[in-house]
């Protein structure tokens, strides 16, 4: 297997640097940098609307040996901007003479507590990878993304120790151009707190956010009736 030199993190959240997708993806990216790979990152929602942004994105993809796409689950699958990115890459690869076999891995996080909500999105990414001739390395998927967003993975504390350990294992494999081991996928997918606690904290969190906007009593409004 050829050695990978350049890794590109594509962040697929419109919330860019304040997103869980960035926090999680960057954690894995820095581990790969520690292993001697050169790193780069882009935020797809900043690039896909304009031609020059799209060209920049495609050039970065062409240059990378390993592409890691980190995104949040939106309505059971990839956010529209991430699908647009994959469509752009597919169209570009169809026209390009480039036969480079890019390694490709994804990290998917959702706001629901259960990891399984991400499974369909993971399968969609694998199909994309096969269709454009990328070398599929696997999907790291986790629930409870809402708890990480805004705090950052490092600041959540010991609760994310499984995720961080899973990323260590994944980074070691990816740096050697190997498939992400099942052990890493399982560790990353483990719950970081009991489901009932997450639901309680989550629901209180929505009320507390609404309070800031003075909408606490309007949360169940039906404006289109």
């Amino acid at each position: 297997m050829s050695k990978l030199k350049k890794v590109l993190l594509l962040v697929g959240s419109p919330k860019t640097t304040s997103s869980a997708s960035f926090s999680i993806g960057n954690n894995l990216l820095l581990k790969l940098e520690d292993k001697g790979l050169s790193i780069d990152k882009e935020f797809v929602y900043r690039l896909i609307r304009k031609d020059d942004g799209q060209q920049k994105l495609l050039k970065k993809v062409d240059d990378a040996d390993l592409i890691i796409l980190s995104f949040p689950l939106y309505v059971d699958c990839l956010p529209a901007g991430v699908i647009k990115t994959l469509e752009l890459i597919r169209d570009h690869k169809e026209l390009s003479q480039d036969s480079k076999k890019h390694a490709f891995a994804v990290i998917i996080n959702c706001g629901f507590p259960e990891t399984q909500h991400n499974f369909v999105a993971g399968k969609i990414c694998k199909i994309f990878s096969e269709e454009v001739g990328f070398d599929w390395k696997g999907a790291l998927m986790l629930g409870m993304g809402g708890f990480i967003a805004g705090r950052g993975l490092k600041n959540v504390g010991r609760m994310t120790k499984n995720i961080i350990h899973g990323f260590d294992i994944a980074a070691t494999a990816l740096a050697k151009n190997e498939i992400i081991p099942e052990e890493a996928i399982e560790l990353v997918g483990k719950k970081i707190m009991p489901y009932t606690l997450y639901i309680k904290v989550g629901n209180l969190g929505w009320n507390s956010q609404a309070k800031k906007f003075g909408t606490r009593k309007k949360m169940k409004d039906r404006p289109y009736l």
Binding site: S13, P14, K15, S19, Y45, P72, Y74, V75, D76, C77, L78, P79, A80, G81, I83, K84, L86, E87, F112, P113, E114, Q116, H117, V120, A121, K123, I124, C125, I127, F128, E131, Y195, I199, G202, N203, W206, Q209, A210, K212, F213, T215, K218, M219, K220, D221, R222, P223, Y224, L225
Partner: protein, 191 residues
């Protein structure tokens, strides 16, 4: 009976145009009131993930564009129909732009449905969902993913009924119409 068609194909997609016209014809025969939206004709902003539609202006997206009309139409429809090229097993980006911004139709609050956590419903009225996915050639894996995705959407968006229909390029349109009409008959039984 009110139907909303959301067409997420590019305008040069021959199959989509054929499906679209056939469905309108069939629904009209059954006295459905139809609103059809070709999404490529509309400039929609992407969802920014701000959750403003849940906490800032509950039930309404804070971005003011045509999506407001689409969500209003969704809320008042009995049947929502998606048309999309099956894209890596899922929806096209054109269709997904509007689907990402429909979450104001549900509440932020978590609740369990069949042992799995989802968002609670905002409106009492539930819509049926028929999703038509266009494929160049048979592909079991993509067809299965598409069907699962539609089923997952129907749970999260509180659909009263769902069906995913695969349309293969060069397929006889009358075969599709039969399946579609059967599905619509099932929807009508729920009304």
């Amino acid at each position: 009976m009110k139907a909303l068609i959301l067409d997420g194909c590019k305008k040069d997609n021959v199959e989509s145009a054929m499906i679209h016209d056939s469905m309108i014809k069939e629904l009209k025969k059954l006295n459905w009131n139809i609103n059809s939206i070709i999404l490529e004709d509309i400039e929609l902003a992407y969802c920014t993930g701000c959750f403003g539609c849940w906490v800032q202006t509950p039930g309404e997206c804070i971005i003011k564009d045509y999506q407001e009309t689409i969500v209003r139409e969704m809320v008042h429809s009995d049947l929502i129909i998606y048309i999309t090229p099956i894209t890596f097993g899922g929806y096209s980006s054109i269709l997904k732009e509007t689907l990402d911004r429909q979450i104001s139709r549900v509440l932020p609050y978590f609740m369990k449905i069949d042992g799995e956590v989802h968002h609670d419903k905002r409106y009492e009225k539930q819509q049926s969902l028929i999703a038509i996915g266009i494929l160049d050639k048979p592909d079991n894996e993509q067809e299965e993913i598409f069907k699962t995705l539609v089923a997952r959407n129907s749970i999260n968006m509180w659909s009263s009924y769902h069906n995913a229909i695969i349309f293969l390029k060069n397929q006889d349109i009358s075969y599709f119409i039969n399946i579609f009409n059967k599905s619509v008959a099932e929807v009508e039984q729920l009304l």
